[in-house]
Amino acid sequence: MHQASQEVFKIEHFVVEGLHCPKCIREIEGTLAENKKIKNARVNLSTQRLAVEWSQETDNALARSEEIITALDNIGFKAFPFKNANISAEEDRVSKSLLRAMAVSGFAAANVMLLSVAVWGGSDMNESTRSLMHWVSAAIVLPAAAYAGQPFFRSALAALKGKRLNMDVPISLAVILTCAMSLFETIIQSDQTYYDAVVMLLFFLLIGRYLDQKMRSHARSVAHNLMSYKVSKASLLHDDGTTEDVAVEMLVPGQIIQVIAGDKIPIDGKVVSGVSDIDTSIVTGETIPQKTKTDDIVYAGTINLNGTLSIEITATTGNTLLDEIIVLMETAEQGRAKYVKLADRAAQIYAPLVHFLAAATFLGWLVLSNIGWELSLINAIAVLIITCPCALGLAVPVVQVVASSRLFKAGILVKAADGLERLAEIDTVIFDKTGTLTLGQPELANGDDETVSDFNLELAASVAKTSSHPLCRALIVACHDRDLPTIATTSEIREEPGMGLEATINGLEVRLGNREWCGINANYLPNNRYSELWLKAKGATPVLFCFKDRMRSDAHDVVQWFIRRKMKVILLSGDRKDVVEEAAEELGISRYKHSCKPQDKIEIIERMKDNGDKILMVGDGINDAPALSAADVSISPSSAAEISQNAADFIFQSQKLDTIVRAYQVSVSSRQLVFTNFALAAIYNIIAVPFAAAGMLTPLIAAIAMSMSSIVVTGNALRLNFEKLYKSHDA
């Protein structure tokens, strides 16, 4: 254990963006090999990660990782420290142990089958040879089953301890009883043993489990990579005016950090100097940037738009806004009724039924015939074997694997194991607005106004073109849309933080910025609905540019798709009334609520859940995270805050919303396929059980029946690949 933790310390993982070719591997490994401090650097193309092993330990871990990031930056790669190394190591361990169990059961199945076929086909085989075959089979199968059955035994034991029944209970019971019975038959030198059935059952089930686990851990690994792209360091301001990059975890209250324009504010704090606009949409859902000056409180996750801010840290881990959200999330999660997976629900019906049938067979033979208790018991166990949970055990995992891989190709990551099942049951969709229905990027809203002429737009864009402010960029986009060139400025463009820009164009002095900057009276064209920019050329009437948050291109289609299917669609936003009303009208949503705090969102969800509604929550902001955990199932875009991505069951990567419809469609079809699979397994049992109960079962029939049912179930699941999925029109 100690050694393991030490290894984790010495090896550091990075996520590398744009890693796709063999040349990348060589360039990165070649460059890092020149560094003497690095013992070994290895790129993993499948996970898009780089593992660096250091030759000696150093104290300053951050400086070390910084060195790698700079080195990679020099050769054109963007690297980020990978944050979830522990989780991914754990998943790796689980999938490796499943793979090992699968290999052992596969080996045993192949070898035992050789012997079994010989026994079944060898009618002239004498008794002692057959007995030898059985003993050899026992020697292979008993240890193999003890090893390969562990994943099932453990899960079954855990379920029984919690007084529940899951699919692994009948599977474990079948494995153990079949082994015991076969051993007994071998000892009394009877001719019927079921060793092959045991290992074949385990082998098939383990294949399904392994693929299921692999698919899910792949999706989660991509999700973790996405999360690591978010930077978590701050630039600490020293008394002498110099700055130093430190990890956010190392900061203490009282320290002062500097945040330059365009950067995310890393931690909660109070502004001590500087003026700027702050985009708080990720925290509050409000789209209009907030003016921030000295003594204002700012929150981690918000974005500093213009102007440099010095911020005194007021709270560190444990006291931030994010921590309050986490507390809300935890309460919300406790309120969430424990979802019972379909397979477990099936097991709750199936297991008692099968055990009852077996018991009835035993008693029936014992009372109504004179074959003795041993043979009666053997017939009872035969019932347990033939009702083989193989098809049932595979019914869910194979569908999950096919569905997840289909969704993965469509850009949707399935994070939760039972997410698909829960998604299929929804009847209500709740959308967040900012960043979910919209892209969180402003676009020009009053382009049709007379004052926004080509000339004025051109002029404004010419001043704006050097700025990285989102509103300025929106101006330039609007300019491109009208095919206008921007005028080259002869003078320098001056930027006043928190105010605006100033330049001389064609000898004309032009200012672009807020009201104050352009010297405009607050009563002139009042506006508290849109983000605004003013253009003031000397001697001309000031021009107002309004901006609104850009809708995702297919938001309307997707909302209407759900409404057409008689689902309740609700809009819950933290944004102000006018903006939310306008968005709801544009999308055709009749139920909406504005100015929602995180608590409000949870309350509404809880109330609807009490009324029996099954809710899908789609959201991205920090303020949505509690709602995402409270809802029955949740989806986040990959642009969402880290905490929301953690809470969500699904993550979609596209700019469009139609992926949500696709995820829903796949989940509904998967559910149908799972039910067909259950039905197939049931039909098979209805045919086979009477034979077993009548004592007419032979090991050969058992083996054929098991393989056939597994193939049928798998083939049925593959039909999901032919399903036609929704695509929004302009796709």
């Binding site: 790129v43 993993n44 290999a103």
Partner: protein, 57 residues
């Protein structure tokens, strides 16, 4: 049927060799990067390893 005394152990032995080989490859991390490893086979005995050697000296 005496030949079985030879054949069964032979079959089992071969199977076990396969199983052990698989376990070894798994432990050696040969399945950790399925995509990258196919390209690595094409790398020449190249600079990276030379660098590595230089460092060890």
């Amino acid at each position: 049927m005496d030949i079985l005394i030879l054949l069964i152990p032979a079959a089992l032995f071969l199977g076990l060799v396969g199983l052990v080989a698989f376990m070894w490859t798994l432990r050696a991390g040969q399945y950790d990067d399925i995509e990258g490893i196919s390209y690595r086979a094409l790398f020449e005995e190249d600079d990276i390893e030379k660098e590595q050697k230089k460092k060890e000296d």
